[in-house]
C-alpha cells in the first residue's frame, strides 16, 4: 500500500477544509498538507450555499447583538464562549476573503454590502449575488493554488481513520480512479466532510453529503453531539428539495397559504407589514417558519399537487423582474428551468426540506475532538455555535473562522508529537482495506443499496421530521436497527476496480445508517422541545431544568448508540423566551429600557 507522509491531513476540501489548508500553509510553509476529498474541491457542497455570511459590519450593529441573535436563535443550547469568539472573528475573515478576491456585492461607494437575514436583528449578512457559497468556495480553491505545500488528493474516498496509541495518526483513502488504497500518515487530521442531510428523503443537499467524517469519528469513539437537531429550510423546491435561498425573504418575499394569506402572522411572527422587518414574519428563524408550515398543513390550508403533495407559495412578484434578475438571478433561473415558473409573474411553490445538520463531531472552541490529533470544522462539527437551531448565514462564516482555527491548532499540536511507526500504522491501514473490500467481494448478498437507503430516508422523514412523537421516533429507531442488520447482507452489482461508485455508495450507506441512528436515538431521548427538535407527545415545552444540556451519542457497534449528556456553557445570556415579530420588538424595547435604568 502506498504511504504518503504529511504533517496535517485534511479530509474534505469544501470551504472549511480549504480554509484550514490555507491556514496551515500560512502558519508554517515548511509543513506538508494532504488535502483529501472524494470529489474535486469545486464540487463540494459549500458551492450550493446561496444567501450569505454574517459578520458585524455596520456602525449601529454590535458583537453583542450578533451574539444574542445567535444564542437566542440556538434556543440557548450554544457554547456561549465559543459564540463570543466566533462573532468577534467574523469581520476580519470576511475582509480576508475579500482580499483573496471574493466578489462580494457592493454598495454604491464600493464597500461590501450587507443584507437582512432570518433571525438577525441588524443587517450583517455579506453576500455575493445569490451565490455566496459558490463564490466563497471558488475563491478559496483558487487561492489555495498559491501554496505549494498543499498536496491535493482529489477524488480520494476516505475509508477510515488510523488511530493508534490513543491518537489519530492518519487516514486510509481509496483512489477512486483505480480502486487503489493509500495510507496518508499524518500527525493530525482535520475532518471537514460536511453534514448528513442525505439520511432524509427530501433535502437540499448534494449526493455527497453523507456524513462520512461524522461516522468515522463516531466509530472511533468520538461522541456525536446534538444530532437530533436537524434544520428544515422553509423554502425548498417540491420534488427535488432544491434550495430557494433565505435571501428571497430578505429581499422582501412573502409566504402565502392556499388563500393567499401570509400565515406566519398567526404563529407569533407578526404583525405583517409590506416591507421586511428583521426577526419578524418571513425573516423569523428557520425552525419557526418550518413549524408554521406544518401547522398550516394540519389545518388543511396548504396547496396541493399530485406530483408533490402539499406546498405553499413564495411570492416574489412585487419585487419586479429587474430587481429579481439583479439580486436573485440564480433563484430566477431555478424557478424557470426546473418548475417552469416565472417568479416575476407567478408565485413559486415551496415547502420545508432538510437542509443542515446542527449537530456533529464534538469539538471544543479550538475545534479539537476528545480524541487527540483529531479536529473537525464546518457542518460535520459541533463546535457549539448553532445550538438547537442555526441562523442563516452563520454557517458560511463558521467555515472560515473555524477553518483557520483548526489549521492553526493542528500546526501547534503537530509540534508536540512525532510520526508513529509506519509498520504498525500500515497494518491498521491494511485492516481497514480488508474491511472495505469485504463489501465488494461478497457475492451472496440479498439487499440492494438503493432499497435500504430509501427505507432509511423515508423512516427518518416520518420519525425525525419537523414534529416528533415518542412512537414515531421509536419506530424509526427500530427500523434503523433492522436496516443495520440487513446492511450486513448488502450486495453490490459492480465488482470492478476502476470507478466503482456502486461500492462507494455501499460504504456511504453504512455511514448514513450510523449517523441516522445517532440522530434518532438522540431525538427520542430528548424529552422536551427546543429549537428544531419539536415534540407533540407531552413534551411540547422547553425544559431548561432537565435538558439545558448537549446530547452525546456514543457508538456501541452492533447495538444501539448510548445517549449521554454534557453541560452547556452559559456566559452572559441566560435562557429566555425566543421572541420574534411584535413580541420580539416588545422584548427588545423592554430590555433597552432596563439597560437605560440600570
Amino acid at each position: 500500500m502506498d504511504v504518503f507522509k504529511a504533517d496535517v491531513a485534511i479530509v474534505g476540501a469544501g470551504g472549511a477544509g480549504l480554509r484550514a489548508a490555507i491556514a496551515v500553509a500560512e502558519a508554517d510553509p515548511s509543513l506538508t498538507i494532504a488535502l483529501i476529498s472524494k470529489v474535486y474541491p469545486m464540487r463540494s457542497h459549500t458551492v450550493a450555499a446561496e444567501g450569505g455570511a454574517a459578520a458585524v459590519t455596520q456602525s449601529h450593529d454590535s458583537l453583542e447583538a450578533h451574539f444574542h441573535d445567535t444564542v437566542a436563535g440556538g434556543d440557548w443550547l450554544c457554547e456561549q464562549d465559543v459564540v463570543e469568539f466566533f462573532v468577534g472573528q467574523a469581520h476580519e475573515e470576511m475582509v480576508q476573503m475579500e482580499h483573496w478576491g471574493c466578489p462580494w456585492s457592493r454598495t454604491a461607494d464600493g464597500r461590501a454590502n450587507v443584507r437582512a437575514f432570518g433571525g438577525m436583528k441588524i443587517e450583517r449578512t455579506w453576500f455575493a449575488a445569490d451565490k455566496t457559497g459558490f463564490h466563497m468556495l471558488h475563491t478559496l480553491f483558487q487561492t489555495s493554488i498559491k501554496y505549494p505545500s498543499i498536496k491535493r488528493f482529489d477524488e480520494h474516498f476516505c475509508a477510515d481513520l488510523i488511530v493508534d496509541e490513543g491518537r489519530v495518526q492518519g487516514v486510509v483513502a481509496i483512489e477512486i480512479a483505480t480502486g487503489q488504497f493509500r495510507m496518508i500518515q499524518a500527525k493530525s487530521v482535520i475532518i471537514a466532510t460536511g453534514g448528513a442531510g442525505r439520511v432524509f428523503r427530501e433535502n437540499t443537499n448534494g449526493g455527497i453529503v453523507t456524513g462520512d467524517g461524522m461516522a468515522l469519528a463516531y466509530r472511533h469513539g468520538v461522541p456525536l453531539r446534538d444530532m437530533e437537531f436537524v434544520q428544515y429550510h422553509p423554502t425548498c423546491m417540491p420534488g427535488t428539495g432544491l434550495l430557494f435561498t433565505e435571501a428571497c425573504r430578505g429581499e422582501g418575499g412573502f409566504l402565502l397559504n392556499k388563500d393567499g394569506y401570509r400565515y406566519l402572522q398567526d404563529y407569533g411572527l407578526g404583525p405583517a407589514s409590506d416591507k421586511p422587518r428583521n426577526k419578524a414574519m418571513e425573516l423569523g428563524p428557520r425552525d419557526r417558519l418550518s413549524q408554521a408550515y406544518w401547522h398550516e398543513k394540519q389545518k388543511g390550508r396548504t396547496l396541493s399537487d399530485p406530483r408533490w403533495g402539499s406546498y405553499v407559495h413564495l411570492d416574489l412578484r412585487h419585487l419586479g423582474e429587474q430587481k429579481l434578475r439583479e439580486r436573485l438571478p440564480q433563484i430566477y433561473e431555478l424557478a424557470v428551468e426546473y418548475l417552469g415558473v416565472d417568479p416575476a409573474k407567478e408565485c413559486i411553490p415551496v415547502l420545508p426540506a432538510v437542509h443542515y445538520t446542527m449537530g456533529g463531531i464534538t469539538a471544543d472552541g479550538n475545534t479539537a475532538a476528545p480524541l487527540p490529533g483529531l479536529y473537525s470544522v464546518g457542518e460535520c462539527s459541533s463546535v457549539g455555535i448553532h445550538g438547537a437551531n442555526r441562523l442563516g448565514s452563520n454557517s458560511l462564516t463558521e467555515l472560515i473562522v473555524f477553518g483557520k482555527v483548526a489549521g492553526v491548532q493542528a500546526v501547534a499540536y503537530g509540534k508536540t508529537v512525532s510520526h508513529g511507526k509506519e509498520a504498525t500504522l500500515r497494518k491498521l491501514a491494511e485492516d481497514a482495506e480488508r474491511r472495505a473490500l469485504a463489501l465488494v467481494a461478497r457475492s451472496d448478498g440479498t439487499e440492494r443499496v438503493a432499497t435500504l437507503r430509501r427505507e432509511m430516508a423515508k423512516s427518518m422523514e416520518e420519525g425525525c421530521g419537523i414534529y416528533r412523537t415518542a412512537s414515531t421516533m421509536q419506530s424509526t429507531c427500530d427500523k434503523l436497527a433492522e436496516l443495520k442488520q440487513r446492511y450486513k447482507r448488502v450486495q453490490v452489482d459492480d465488482h470492478s476496480k476502476v470507478w466503482n461508485t456502486d461500492w462507494l455508495l455501499a460504504i456511504e450507506l453504512g455511514f448514513l445508517i450510523d449517523v441516522a441512528e445517532a440522530m434518532a436515538h438522540s431525538a427520542l431521548n430528548r424529552r422536551e422541545s427546543r429549537g428544531s427538535h419539536q415534540r407533540l407527545d407531552g413534551f411540547e415545552a422547553r425544559d431548561d431544568v432537565n435538558f439545558l444540556k448537549h446530547s452525546l451519542a456514543h457508538y456501541r457497534g452492533a447495538d444501539a448508540p448510548q445517549i449521554g449528556y454534557g453541560p452547556v456553557k452559559i456566559t452572559t445570556s441566560t435562557p429566555a423566551t425566543r421572541a420574534y415579530g411584535a413580541a420580539g420588538e416588545e422584548a427588545d424595547r423592554k430590555a433597552k429600557e432596563e439597560a437605560v435604568h440600570a
Binding site: A48, G207, D502
Partner: protein, 250 residues
Amino acid sequence: MPESKRIEIQVLRYRPEQEDVPVWQSYYVPFTDDMSVLQGLQHIKDDIDGTLSFRWSCRMAICGSCGMMVNGIPKLSCQTFLRDLLPGPVRVEALSHFPIERDLVVSVEPFVKKLESVKPYIIPKKPRSLDQGEYLQTPEQLEQFEQFSSCINCMLCYAACPQFGLTPDFIGPGVLALAHRYNADSRDGGQAERMEIMSTEEGVWDCSAVGYCSEVCPKHVDPANAVNQNKVNSAKDYFLRFLSPKGASK
C-alpha cells in the same frame, strides 16, 4: 396513480477491465414530466444496473459535476429534462473531447492542471492589510468581471470546442475565462504574468472563434468573449514590446 410512461435511455458504457471499446447499452426508465436526465440515470443505477458510473452532486447546476453529451450536445444532466427529449431514445455519452475513464466519467485532471497554471488568484495591485478593511470596488468595477467569475468548471465548453478536441494542449475556454476574470478585477495587478501564459499558442491563439463554447455554457459566462478580446490584448502586448524595452505590461 396514472400509469407511468417509459422512455429509452441509451448510454455509452465503457468498463476498461471488461472491454476495449465503448459499447451502447439501452435501458427503459419510468418517466414523469419533472424528471431530469440525471434522475433517469439514478434510476438506472439504483434499480436496474448498479455498475453505471457517473459524477453528480448538487442537482441544481452549480457544482459542475454532471456534464455529459445528451443527444450529441454538451449538457448538465441535472438541468436537462426528459420531457424535452420525448419520445426518445435519449442518447447519453461522456463529455466529448475528453478521454473516457469509465462510462460517463472523463479525465478531469488535465483541466485542473490548466486551471492551476493561469495563476487564478488575486495578485494585488496595491497591498492592503486586514485592518484597513476591504478594497473599495464599485458595482461598476464588479460588473467588469462578475460574469466571468460565474464559471462552475463543468467543462461543457471544452466538449463544445473543436480546437480543444483537435489540440488537447489548448488551455481552453473555461480556464482562459477564469484568467480574464482576474485580469479584469480592479484589485488585481497580475495581468503581465498571466499575459505570458495567455498569449502562447496554447493560450488564446489556438482559438478560432467557433463560439460554440458560449452557446453551451449553462452559466452565461461567455468564454468566447473572454478569449477573443484577449487576442487584441495579446497582439497589443506583442507589438508594444518593440516600442518599450520592458515590454507592455498593463
